[in-house]
């Protein structure tokens, strides 16, 4: 619409203008209003992608995961449109594979040294177990930070790459400190720890030469989330305090030492509230687990809203208007699919069970079957198990992960889009070492 009128055919104006540096063509203004994010991807092609991927994972004993992850990301990125332009994922499976091989080359000698040290009975042996734990704890966030850098640098928007600076080791230390404080405060410090980590990450995130920021407030998140926290952990902490107040440890220890048949009875007579405290603990624990499961979608919606609304890139700002109900709908759909799948698996299991004589499961009878039949039986059982596990994982990827991606984008809005036109290219692609390390350590799924 804003195209300047082109030169009339045969006009010599083209030559003279071309001699001088060409003036920039007027850019098309970005779409304004609510529809700044769009997602085109449908579920059917994604189902096909994931199911085919699951089959190939089994056939290749997992080696195919690099290709599957790349295909997944290409699908997600390419179908996401921001202000009229679609994202591009420029990563390749080969990069992921090489990153993994490099990570293995780093980890295997480390594992070897730690295992050998652990075999010794002296001080070095005992420390090495602790050392292994500390190293793994450090490597985890390190890998995640580097993997994030890889994914950012392989994301291209309007011909300009995103990139990430910052030290992965520093982030790793911050992350461990954050988790230590969170655990020590039973989760109360989580909002501030998360805010600090997101600030570090976004401060070092760039779109071209435009830097990112995170302005989400830990206090805000705390105030929004304290209700959830009280609902889930409140009864558990209360019952723990009650137990600590009413149970005398030395009395219990004495009764255990004396032993005998009426251990509980003797404890009861000494401390009448013992069984009550114990029951309260058990009930509170189950309550926590169930409440955590039921409230998880609410928690996710809250985190998504808070995180999205805190993102800034130069003059651009994001907000999220995702509703908790949408998140619940998403997870309920997942539960529904899982139940259907479980039902199908159970029906197949029953059919197989009637065909195969169940006496084969008796150990003595089993030993009489010849070795080859044994092998076939075990392999069939193994394949069945893997199919079920991969089935659930595939259902999760499509019904939850894909929908979550779409939901996050479609409920988000960008303001200050004019800034989108004035970004200059910057940044170099990062290596896939972090991705490989995360894969080798089994953290942060592809």
């Amino acid at each position: 619409m804003l195209d300047a009128v082109g030169p009339s055919p045969g006009a010599p104006a083209v030559a003279s203008i071309a001699a001088a540096p060409a003036p920039p063509t007027p850019p098309v203004p970005p779409a304004v209003g609510a529809a700044t994010f769009r997602f085109f991807g449908n579920e059917e092609p994604y189902w096909r992608l994931m199911i085919r991927g699951a089959v190939l994972l089994i056939v290749t004993l997992g080696i195919y995961r690099f290709w599957l992850a790349t295909d997944q990301r290409r699908f997600l990125w390419a179908n996401t449109e921001i202000a009229g332009d679609a994202l591009e994922y420029a990563g390749t499976a080969r990069e992921l594979l090489i990153g993994f091989l490099v990570a293995v080359a780093v980890l295997v000698p480390l594992y070897a040294v730690l295992s050998l040290a652990a075999l010794g009975s002296d001080v070095v042996g005992q420390i090495s177990g602790l050392l292994a734990l500390v190293l793994l704890a450090l490597f985890g966030p390190f890998a995640i930070f580097r993997a994030r850098r890889y994914r950012l640098t392989r994301t291209i928007f309007r011909g300009v790459r995103l990139h990430q600076t910052g030290s992965a080791w520093l982030y790793s230390v911050y992350s461990i400190l954050g988790w230590a404080v969170t655990l020590a405060t039973f989760g109360l410090a989580y909002p501030w720890a998360q805010a600090a980590l997101e600030r570090y990450k976004m401060r070092h995130t760039f779109y071209g030469d435009v830097g990112g920021r995170f302005v989400g407030s830990g206090t805000r998140l705390f105030l929004r989330g304290i209700g959830l926290w009280l609902l889930i952990l409140g009864p558990l902490l209360a019952s723990i305090l009650y137990a600590m107040a009413s149970i005398d440890g030395t009395v219990v220890a004495e009764a255990v030492e004396r032993g005998g048949n009426n251990m509980l009875g003797s404890i009861e007579s000494a401390m009448p509230n013992f069984s009550l405290a114990l029951m309260a603990l058990v009930i509170a624990f189950f309550w926590s687990v169930i409440a955590a499961g039921l409230l998880y979608p609410a928690f996710q919606a809250m985190m998504l809203r808070w995180w999205t609304s805190g993102l800034r890139f130069g003059d651009m700002a994001a907000t999220s208007r995702v509703r908790t109900g949408q998140m619940y709908g998403l997870y309920l759909r997942f539960v529904g699919y899982s139940l259907l799948f479980g039902l199908a698996a159970a029906i197949i299991g029953v059919i197989v069970g009637t065909l195969v004589p169940l006496s084969a499961l008796d150990e003595e009878k089993f030993a009489e079957i010849d070795t080859w039949t044994q092998i076939v039986g075990v392999v069939a059982g193994l394949i069945g198990y893997v199919v079920i596990m991969l089935g659930y994982s595939t259902i999760y990827q499509v019904t939850v992960k894909l929908r979550l991606w779409r939901l996050s984008f479609e409920t988000a809005e960008l303001t200050g889009l004019e800034a989108l036109n004035r970004v200059n290219a910057a940044g170099v692609p990062g290596s896939a070492f972090g991705e490989g390390l995360a894969d080798a350590l089994d953290i942060g799924g592809l």
Partner: protein, 368 residues
């Protein structure tokens, strides 16, 4: 032949969006700005088909340091480029071919990993075991000795867990030491043997690195002659001489690396990894037991004992232990083992323990 249509161009230096006119001539794609100046000229052979959603054709240039992108929404223009450029294939056929190649290569890789697991790992462990110094083995043996005793001593007998320390078992202890000494002398080992009888009712015996051999009370109870006990001890000495514990540690590490780090990293893969490791480790240990049996036969021949005694006690014990799955049994089929043992000609000259010693040995676990 020229075709042209609208497109969107990004110059890779700024994020500005340029509406352009795309022209296709015989050699390549021409990108003209609205005012007519040429922004890019890409030969067909250099075109790179980039990832995009179905409604758009996204093109770049191969090995371009600048991230120039050309996006074409016009389906006819996209189809024309598809026809003219060999590198652009919107049907997905070349992608499918590529994926088939990838899958074929990875399946081949998996097959070779499995072969390495079956043949390569034991061979490598065989090569590496001699390089482990005996001092290191002895250190591991000390640590393992303490842990194993603690694990097996479920009634917390402590010192009394070992038979033959008290007065009642002293004679049996002496008889056993003499027998072990004769076996050791004929074996020419690099480590001394430390023989211990443990107060457990199972009929079993095992060896730890560094020369620690353990025999359970149950085995002595079920033995009918001194040569049978000697045969079992000779078998365990075989494990020590062959450094089987160290080898199995190296094999386990190699297996862990193959099936664990490299393979099996998918949901549910853990079960595959455990099953493969169990199957392969079992096949390794069958070979190990066969070799220890052969060593025992050789040792008993040197001492003039009954080479078939080991087979006799194995058969007797086999009936009592739970049958279980052949595949996962750590020891190969007992009948196969006994058949192999009995292939050696019987060269018995005399009982290895005289009747007095044998009676004393039977009483080794009497008393505290």
């Amino acid at each position: 032949m020229t075709r042209s249509g609208p497109g969107i161009f990004y110059d890779g230096k700024t994020s500005a969006r340029h509406t352009v006119q795309v022209e296709l001539d015989g050699a390549g794609v021409l990108v003209r700005a609205a005012r007519g100046d040429l922004l890019a000229r890409w030969p067909y052979g250099d075109l790179e088909h980039l990832s995009a959603h179905d409604g758009m054709l996204r093109l770049g240039r191969v090995d371009n340091p600048v991230l120039e992108r050309l996006e074409i929404h016009d389906p006819e223009l996209a189809a024309a480029i598809d026809d003219l450029a060999a590198t652009v294939d919107r049907t997905g056929a070349s992608e499918r071919r590529g994926r088939t190649r990838v899958v074929a290569w990875t399946v081949a890789a998996v097959a070779s990993f499995v072969l390495v697991g079956i043949f390569g790992v034991p061979a490598i462990a065989d090569r590496l075991t001699p390089y482990v110094p005996t001092a290191v083995e002895r250190k591991f043996g000390e640590a393992a000795d303490a842990q194993v005793r603690a694990m097996l001593d479920t009634d917390r007998k402590g010192e009394a867990f070992e038979c033959g320390r008290g007065e009642a078992g002293k004679e049996g202890r002496a008889a056993l030491t003499r027998l072990a000494g004769r076996l050791e002398a004929a074996a020419f080992l690099s480590v001394p043997i430390t023989l211990t009888v443990l107060r457990k009712p199972e009929a079993n015996a095992f060896a730890l690195p560094g020369g620690h051999v353990y025999v359970f009370e149950g085995l002595i109870d079920r033995a009918q002659t001194g040569d049978e006990v000697a045969g079992v001890i000779a078998h365990e000495i075989g494990h020590v001489a062959n450094r089987d514990s160290t080898r199995s540690v190296i094999q386990a590490a190699g297996l862990s690396f193959l099936f664990g780090t490299v393979l099996g990293d998918f949901v549910g893969g853990g079960a595959v990894v455990i099953a493969s490791k169990a199957l392969l480790q079992n096949s390794y240990s069958r070979e190990v037991e066969r070799r220890a049996d052969a060593y025992a036969v050789e040792l008993m021949t040197r001492l003039g004992g009954d080479t078939r005694a080991l087979g006799a006690i194995l058969l007797r014990i086999d009936g009592t232990n739970h049958p279980g799955m052949k595949l996962l049994l750590d020891h190969p089929d007992t009948k196969d083992r006994v058949a192999a043992i009995n292939m050696a000609p019987p060269t018995k000259t005399a009982d290895l323990l005289n009747p007095l010693e044998w009676a004393a040995l039977k009483r080794i676990c009497a008393g505290p």
